[in-house]
Symmetry: D2
Subunit: 488 residues, 4 copies
């Protein structure tokens, strides 16, 4: 029914049916019609009442889980709504204790009431959900149930309350202190690699052959695991060992490339980071994984000097199109609109970004390439420095992630990703974020306190020279006549 | 300095010193004099301020842990007092939010304020302590720190506040759902068996030879482990496979006994359950371990029909002496005082329990044995049914544990433990609590709801016949003339 | 260069280059021309001279292995010929010792000379090859080298001498006593499953999806491993858990079939056994693997009552065509030739086996099917009882294998394998060999002593009724009018 | 009955009884009287007749093993004699084939007869013994049976023939290429460490505390294992990580010593190598283990610069006493006899080596120490250069071992082992053999070809200066007046 569940629902149902013991399960229709919801509420109440960890509690939980698995999407939504609406904290009790606490006089009373209040603030549904960790695959069940819940949120905003409790619970359990990083390779279980193939979110793994290719001796893959889910990666990162900064994802993943001896490599390129569990949304693992992987690589391959990403710039083209729309009037001779019009003329298409960039011919037209290269690189550098209004963090989500972890913007790569996705998102540009071991700590501090963006001198120069003088889309032609290497 | 720590403090300090990184550690005197406490407070504040799980947070935590390890007992107490006194929740903030919440009007506001209040109720020290789980051996450090804290509680009751937070944190992490049961045997790591020898709390393991003896093929040992502490048993249980109920611990542990083929055994005797971690006091594992072990044994040895303990009765003699002191006047001919006096006369000692029972000669004097046997067995049955005032649970702590888990009182064993500890605690008596698989669930319910004590018919009869008719220490002679087997 | 080698030759060369140490490797051309062969002979002699297991011996071996890997097919053949021609036992010495031994008088002298002779009979190349077991992947190297050698045998029959020594050496190392059986499943390393896919010899595994399908919960796979080659299966067997004897391989492998709970299955079908290492040809593992798998399954799934194969009959059609060619005159009305002619007429093709059987239409023509069924089943039963001249063992190699292991012929399956391979080899028939635990020992004895073929009564009856009365290809029509189930 | 067996004989008998299956075992008396030996012969013949690896072969072997275990020492000797006397190669057949081979004309016939002869030279008992490797613990059984056999050799020299076959078989199986080196530490199974304690042959491990002490972080222990005997060390080596060459075993093993950080150590001292399996006598593992351990240590602790032993000199005192007896007349003033007489006078004992050296007072008498030191060191250097007549290898067995492995004599240590064993064997001297990575290969070559002894310049000088000029026990006083450090 739901391919997300680690076992087929049949297997999980069977297992839980064994755990449930001899108590019968009430007959419930798959879409959980209104008249049957009281039965479910009763079952849930019984589970809440049982002592955590006790045999009976686990039996109740197994029954509830089994029941959930028999429901269809409609039924599951109703089920979750019951949890959201009827198993919240007791308002009267919380108000009463809060009132007393707000007016407590002495320290000792205050402390007693803090304990009392903490107790009162644990909702019945939190107690109930906690029971599932004692079931086989119970934690994975909660993760997948939350993934389903997130899908229902749009239609049932009330479920937000349940989601909050569920996220809290999972965040406690998936504390990074408990996670273990493991290297995956071609000796890893097939079942595990199959999951990587399904979960990879940045550059799709097209086949087992492609999977194997990403685990060759000059490629590495690391994932975080939680001890209770030994077969489920939480997040994973793919690394290429190369000489010099990699500037093109297509070259990096080319299966005809010459492989190199890892001991000879001087650079580790992190070219893909994917969260594997939708149901753990909002719980952050990425920074810790990067740190652990850098540590592990520095130790095992002492010749590595440079740790860098090769990353997408997912919002660049959308930003640029918006700017063009807002700023159509800036038709001086150096403006991007003029440049774009020239390019369109050479290709004999309409003068819009879409008509030019989505036309594969432009890549083979060196005149168009020369025309567009510097303006696009400069605009991209500007985009990366563009801030959100509410917290002045960078607009680009990938930039926020890496800058927040202490990396700096190192290099922009012209035609770094010529796939249709690359064109659609960033006009073919890619970026390297550099993790310089000695600067990470300072970068984190400067970013977290003043949202200061660390960047290589060349990038900073690009910005500093032009930003003050020009409107966002004009004056770009200055660099147009500088031929040269494919990156900034 | 403190043998409790899993590594020598030297090793742990070295490890953490590596983790701390290049930041210097301030020079602090071992007993943490008043003038240096501000420095410590400052360090603690910096750690609280760091983002959980971040590299800097771990560096701060490592530094703090390292510092703690350099302190002596006095210094550690001061350190813990700083945490207890200065890192509590912000009273003003909590009062303010509580006040708002108590007067919130609509549901939506209420829910927002619940979230806000939950946040406010997390104390800074909870945040700080949580950082330790990302350090190597950090969780074990907190467990051992709490063990030390418990030792300071008598002199520094304020530490109770810190203890509460610490226990909460550990209880979350050591949720039984995350624990794994493992069987230990002579193939287990020597380091692990060495710990069993140190932690065994019921019948001391006298030597490696004795340890080995308890892991022979007709003996089994199971322990609970947490994934982050793979080498540290949390609780362990020792089992003997025998034919028929075992009634004497000395026979059971006799290393000259004939061993039997486990496949032939019909009874599993749980003769020792020990908590291994003082610092996890108040977090219960025992019932779940017994359940898992019974499951595992039933599965692997299908011929086992009976699962029972052979347990001490730790409070019996103390209870009996108090009764004798309170009730000295009951000198009718069947009273225990009279019986005791006769026994004393035969041994030519003063007529007190201490003079008779602590005199090893009585065990070899069959006349004295005959005289004391039935009265003591009957009194013990009564003791086991005696209740605490506040919750009407049984007085005996071991009885509370097993009855609460669904066992029943099966048999009282005359001269079941003739060691000096056995004499000192229970006049040599031992007891079997029986785990009858079909009754466990009902027993748990009956006990938890009405504190009903399950007992074998013979034990119930013993009580029902005599309790109504007689004062607690009289009328006991009636059974004195019944010769017979050594148990009731 | 040679995909057979477990590592790419590049990786293995690199590893061995490290092991070789600082001694240079002479420059040798890939096809090892005549003028460079003395250099190789010299290297080989140095390796023979080194003490087995010593560091220098391993260095020499690593150098020789590295050199072999740089050769092309021609060069390798020359290399092996050098070993075959120049590193045999010393004929003069052997003759001399033999002569002395043949004429030795007393027991003591005889025994001394036996030792001397044994020593003399160890060829230098045996000593040399033995050095390889101390190299990483050295044993696998020898296996793969032998696989190449087997390919050269046709052109260089002299290599047979080397092959004999190599086989002896490998047979000693791969003694079944040292092998371990392991169950493989979807949790097994991808690298291992990839090898199964490559090595499967009976029913090709078409894709990773197909592989996964064969490892579902009602499918099992077992392989033998040697401790020094943990990642290399030597032989493996695929098992399907079903209800009742499976009669069609297509149904068995259908990925739309309903899976069943293994606990409910009553029959284990061994549907594929493949040797994985060409280089271990002539060293038998199959019988021991079947025995171990039957033991393991009986233990873990006590409801299994029947253990049987579903096997091909690889030589049936070839045998039948030869019989037809030899026996074309037997055109009485019940002869197979007449039957075949009728079938051909119905299909409007020429009256040959090839024209009828290789025409896919016949399968959908029920008239043709009815016509052919019984005659083919009967002829197949006869084929299975046909003997080789030299040792009176059955003609069919699969029959020899299973009958020699104590199985009996249980059932012939009409249209058991309708793949083109099935048609080409056995006119679509398959067979079940049954392993009846109680009869295996007696069957082995009867077969090994008198080549007695065990068969189910129905099969025996089929033969006994008709064999004496009729020529091999006549009188078959008698059963043609019996409609019925698809097997005999 | 025999503590050598890994399982109690009871357990092993039970296991094998299961494997034997339903066939009864004949009743045999424990001392295997003459009239019952035919029964045993018959059983052995049946086992020989069975096909290797087949189920029936294993059943026979299990029965025979079980029977052996029921025998007492006398019975076992008789059992082994049956194997030695009646299961040898067939003399007539061997003579006949040898004769033919000696007179074969052409190459092809010769090669055929070589194969035939090899076959004929495999004795029935070799075939029989080989069956045991398919039994659980069967290989260990053969090892322990050989250990018993070695004990019987003195009384039954005929058993030598059986021993030869058994050693051949074990040597094939325990080829060093198949062995794995593993590091043992306090996390190793208690059962394994218990064996180390039992097997340690150089410096006895007195208790579990002592065992643990030898596994501290600046101590290491490595052992060789065979894959089929995962719990049985074959040979093990103990290493101490120190600064500078260790010169005293008592200081090295002192449990009050200051431990050092292994990363700071510059020297690895191999202070004990013990063979663990008597039954593998004559099969050499030591050199390979040392090589592997040096490799492993160099890799994991790059600061280690020096790899050296601290070894006993087991034959020095015996040699010296013989020299004194032979050479009593050399009573010039520099002769050792004169020196010894002076020392005896100071201690007021008779002037014999025994009276002086075995008197513990001499160690505290600095005058005696000064007197004896240089003469003894010089004599010891001479002893180490003394050769055996037959092969001119060094007289000292430990010297032969290490020099043959490529080490050199580095330093002689005055009072290096002051235990009574040290005094009894070598007058308290110890020696360091140095493994200098760059010289090992040359040393091995020089030693194996010319028995050249590698030694540090100081040692060489000691010898070269004095050997030519002086008789073995005279002229030693020259060094007597040189005070100085405790080693040469």
């Amino acid at each position: 029914m739901n391919s997300r569940f680690i076992f087929s629902w049949k297997t999980l149902q069977r297992t839980w049916s064994d755990w449930r013991g001899s108590d019968g399960l009430p007959g419930i229709s798959p879409d959980l019609p209104e008249e049957e919801r009281d039965t479910v509420t009763k079952l849930l109440n019984e589970c809440v009442a049982a002592r955590h960890g006790a045999v009976t509690a686990r039996q109740h939980a197994a029954g509830i889980g089994e029941l959930y698995l028999t429901l269809n999407a409609t039924g599951r939504r109703h089920f979750l709504e019951i949890l959201a609406d009827q198993f919240a904290v007791d308002q009267d009790q919380v108000r009463e204790v809060s009132h007393r606490l707000a007016h407590s006089d002495d320290d000792e009373t205050f402390r007693q009431q803090v304990l009392e209040l903490r107790e009162a603030l644990i909702s019945p549904r939190q107690q109930l959900l906690q029971q599932f960790n004692a079931l086989p695959q119970g934690v994975k069940f909660l993760i997948d149930m939350r993934a389903e819940l997130l899908g229902f949120l749009h239609d049932s905003p009330n479920l937000k309350r349940l989601d909050y409790d569920l996220q809290q619970l999972l965040a406690t359990w998936f504390d990074v202190g408990f996670l273990r990083v493991k290297q995956l390779d071609w000796q890893s279980p097939a079942a595990l690699l199959e999951k990587l193939m399904a979960y990879e979110a940045v550059h799709a793994i097209s086949s087992w052959r492609d999977m194997r290719h990403r685990l060759e001796w000059d490629r590495q893959c690391y994932a975080f695991f939680h001890p209770v889910l030994p077969g489920e990666p939480l997040i994973f990162i793919e690394v290429a060992l190369v000489k010099g900064l990699a500037s093109s994802i297509q070259s990096l993943l080319d299966d005809q490339r010459e492989d190199i001896d890892p001991q000879q490599a001087d650079t580790a390129i992190f070219y893909s980071i994917s969260n594997a569990q939708t149901g753990l949304k909002g719980i952050s693992f990425g920074p810790f994984l990067i740190k652990k992987v850098v540590d592990s690589l520095s130790h095992s391959l002492p010749n590595l000097k440079t740790f860098s990403t090769l990353s997408p710039i997912p919002g660049f083209r959308r930003w640029l199109e918006k700017r063009l729309a807002d700023n159509g009037s800036a038709h001086d001779k150096d403006s991007f609109a003029t440049v774009l019009a020239e390019a369109a003329q050479l290709l004999d298409v309409e003068p819009t970004l879409a008509h030019v960039i989505d036309d594969p011919r432009w890549l083979e037209n060196s005149e168009v390439c020369d025309l567009l290269k510097e303006p696009l690189l400069t605009l991209c550098a500007r985009y990366l420095h563009e801030r959100r209004e509410r917290d002045s963090a960078p607009l680009d989500p990938v930039a926020r992630f890496h800058l927040g972890n202490g990396a700096r913007i190192e290099q922009l790569n012209w035609l770094g990703d010529v796939s249709s996705k690359g064109m659609r998102e960033s006009c073919g540009l890619m970026i390297n974020y550099l993790y310089a071991l000695d600067d990470i700590k300072d970068n984190i501090e400067a970013y977290s306190q003043e949202k200061q963006i660390a960047a290589a001198p060349r990038i900073r120069k690009l910005i500093s020279e032009h930003e003050p003088k020009l409107g966002p889309l004009s004056g770009l032609r200055k660099w147009g006549n500088r031929k040269g290497k494919g990156s900034a």
